[in-house]
Symmetry: C2
Subunit: 225 residues, 2 copies
């Protein structure tokens, strides 16, 4: 059952799949574990960690950088069907940095262990090629995040974040704390709170204990442009 | 002559070279142009630009991001034997961002045009694979730069920059303006000048019209750690 689900995921998203022999496909399937991560848990810990190749069955992972002082920068998120190669960074010699990954929701992930994945890569250039291609996809995500963090003014960053969250929410309320917002956009809670109050003053949002209610989507949208 | 030099560069640095047929190798060699860029000139302009694959013969290129307001962030530098794939970003579908490149010194570069390079990639998985591997190498460089810019305190950043420049200079004087330092480390000139004056006060450097003289390497080194 798991096997069939994984097989479908891989043939849909893992572009090297069609270039793999039946034996290789079977090796990948039988060496994958389905792991369930509870919301909030650390999936991958950067340094000295090399879990393996991941493909997300359900839920959501957040990939971020962490400074020595504990400051976080969100790089990107991974949803159903997305694959994570940075969690197998030890397999690819060109990846010389580390990231952290947490489960943003309850998340089910198929994991192919590093040793097995390294073996597959070693014997099939298409798998290696696809792995580096995946890394390059993430490079593009990170460059986008960098652009946002380094160049954009705070109000724009916050507006874009709220706009994205709104699209994922049911209704107009985003259930999130200011602390969480700050972590996601790489800022400080005080700065987020101040900016949210400013947004409230402008009639864009209403703040409550439960979260942030967007009351003027048009104005919010304008700020994101 | 050019041909032989390029051939040597490629066989030493372009790891896919040994997996290319004699015909492919010849196609790559005959389709490469040697281009000379004067110091300070823009080599690559981001958006709507797709020069091709580059391998640096001599000199130095600086790759940076540019905000709408003209703020620059240096991502990494390329020297003799280094290759640039982001200047052929149109060839690799996974690269969805743009960078800018300038010649930091007088620089000679062999360039294989995008159309030809795309053709080579299309017909040889090893070339494609190596191209994505190169992109991933640069990903690692960018993550390093991000770590520096986002997480490090200014004094440490400046110290690391001076330390690196010192290693490349003859003697103890770094010939550079505060404005240039600011651009390289992604800061403002005022901030750099203030910090340099602080360094001078600490007896680490001496400031003059011609540049920055390091007078206490031990102290400077300590700041970089």
């Amino acid at each position: 059952m798991e096997n069939r689900e994984l097989s479908e995921l891989l043939s849909a998203h893992f572009a090297a799949w069609e270039h793999m022999s039946a034996i290789e496909q079977k090796q990948m399937l039988t060496n994958a574990d389905l792991i369930s991560y509870t919301q909030g848990i650390t999936v991958y810990n950067g340094e000295n960690d090399c879990v393996g190749f991941m493909i997300i069955k359900s839920g959501r992972l957040r990939v971020y950088m962490l400074s020595e002082e504990g400051k976080e920068i969100t790089l990107y998120r991974l949803d159903h069907g997305d694959m994570c190669i940075l969690s197998a960074s030890c397999v690819l010699s060109s990846i010389t940095f580390d990231v952290h990954i947490e489960a943003e929701e309850n998340t089910d992930v198929f994991v192919v262990g590093s040793v097995k994945f390294a073996e597959l890569i070693k014997n099939n250039i298409y798998i290696e090629c696809f792995s580096y291609k995946l890394a390059t996809d993430r490079f593009s995500d990170v460059m986008w995040a960098m652009q946002q963090i380094l160049f954009m003014s705070m109000d724009k960053r916050l507006a874009i974040f709220l706009w994205d969250e709104l699209a994922k929410s049911e209704g107009d309320v985003i259930h999130i704390t200011h602390e969480q917002v700050a972590r996601y956009i790489g800022s400080a809670r005080e700065v987020v709170t101040r900016m949210l109050k400013y947004f409230a003053g402008e009639g864009i949002v209403e703040l409550s204990r439960g979260g942030i209610k967007v009351i003027d989507k048009g104005k919010l949208r304008k700020l994101t442009l």
